[in-house]
């Protein structure tokens, strides 16, 4: 009975939505802000990747909020999974030599690749969040493949998270001091297409990369250890 009612409801919503979606033509945009960002992006921010300059500079406040949301998830998770005494996990059998060596070999390469993505965020597609997710997948690989290794100390993740978050806020506050606006781009913009260009954008993305990587790795670590 519930299935029938839900199905009818969904069909009604579908008909209503599809019949009115003709209004927005696909492939032609009506955006006023698009030309401004594309024309003035390089001059005002120095980054050749316009999406990065929108994310970090023009809408940097949203990025601060997003970093906070991920931090919230990690903290809320460990608060809800808290147990008074760390219960001993059952001793699993150790993984085979090939698996162990393979994972140990791949792990630094994955970290290197992730770091490349967030350091070059202002030049190539990518950025802090994508690089951080790749770093966390490196940690996931070791947790899945290298049983017998105790894993990274949880405290180190916590310190990295807090310090990188504070680094982002401090960069913004320095902008407030130097330029009068929070998150003002006060470092020299340099020549476009070079690694050391675009003002505060590489700094912010490096902080975000570390933060996201350690947070997601911490989330996975908590979930694996809790059950």
């Amino acid at each position: 009975m519930r299935k029938v009612i839900s199905f009818i409801l969904i069909v009604i919503i579908a008909v209503g939505a599809f019949s009115s979606l003709r209004e927005i033509p696909f492939g032609a945009t009506k955006s006023r802000v698009r030309e401004y960002y594309l024309d003035n992006g390089i001059k005002q921010t120095g980054a050749t990747n316009i999406v990065t300059s929108v994310v970090v500079n023009y809408r940097g406040f949203d990025t601060l909020g997003e970093v906070t949301v991920l931090f919230l998830a990690s903290i809320g998770l460990s608060a809800v999974l808290y147990r008074k005494k760390e219960e001993r996990r059952k001793k699993r059998r150790e993984s085979s030599l090939i698996l162990y060596t393979g994972c140990r070999f791949l792990f630094p390469l994955i970290l290197l690749f992730g770091s490349y993505i967030f350091i070059h965020g202002h030049l190539t597609p990518g950025g802090g969040f994508q690089g951080g997710a790749i770093i966390a997948s490196g940690f996931l690989l070791t947790m899945l493949g290298c049983w017998g290794w105790e894993g990274i100390n949880r405290n180190r993740f916590k310190i990295t998270e807090s310090l990188s978050g504070l680094a982002f806020v401090v960069v913004g506050l320095l902008g407030l001091l130097y330029g009068g606006y929070f998150l003002f781009n006060y470092l020299p913009k340099g020549i476009p297409n070079q690694l050391f260009s675009a003002g505060i954008i590489p700094l912010v993305y490096i902080a975000i990369g570390f933060k996201v990587g350690s947070e997601i790795a911490g989330i996975i670590n908590d979930m694996v250890r809790s059950g």
Binding site: I10, I13, L21, I24, G27, R34, R59, V80, L123, F129
Partner: protein
């Protein structure tokens, strides 16, 4: 079927949202409901991205000096989707954690049976 060809992205994204909504309304297992939530999030992200597309446009990156800004797609929806994906991941992580703790207390993941708080 020019209608479908032109509006394929809109149809696909709304289709995903409605499938996700149906799963959340009908299924009994908590993990399936959470998967339905994740499908809704995916559909919404595709909808946002497709609002910024320009026909035969290219990525908004000036990797060579000679690229024309007028041929590039809109960068703003891509920034919005970055944020939306991260928020979706955070909600998913919290939901799965609550499912873990709920399983510890009740021993089952069937939402019909987890009804201790009465009217």
């Amino acid at each position: 079927m020019e209608f479908i060809e032109n509006y394929l992205y809109y149809i696909a994204s709304f289709g995903l949202i409605l499938i996700g909504l149906y799963i959340m309304l009908v299924k009994d297992n908590l993990i399936k409901i959470i998967i339905g939530l994740s499908i809704i999030d995916t559909g919404v992200n595709i909808l946002i991205i497709s609002m910024g597309y320009l026909k035969k446009g290219t990525a908004p990156i000036f990797s060579r000096e000679s690229l024309l800004p007028s041929r590039m797609v809109d960068p703003v929806p891509q920034a919005l989707v970055l944020t939306a994906i991260v928020i979706g991941v955070a909600i998913l992580a919290l939901a799965l954690t609550l499912a873990i703790v709920l399983y510890r207390h009740y021993g089952t993941l069937n939402v019909r049976k987890i009804r201790d708080l009465k009217w």
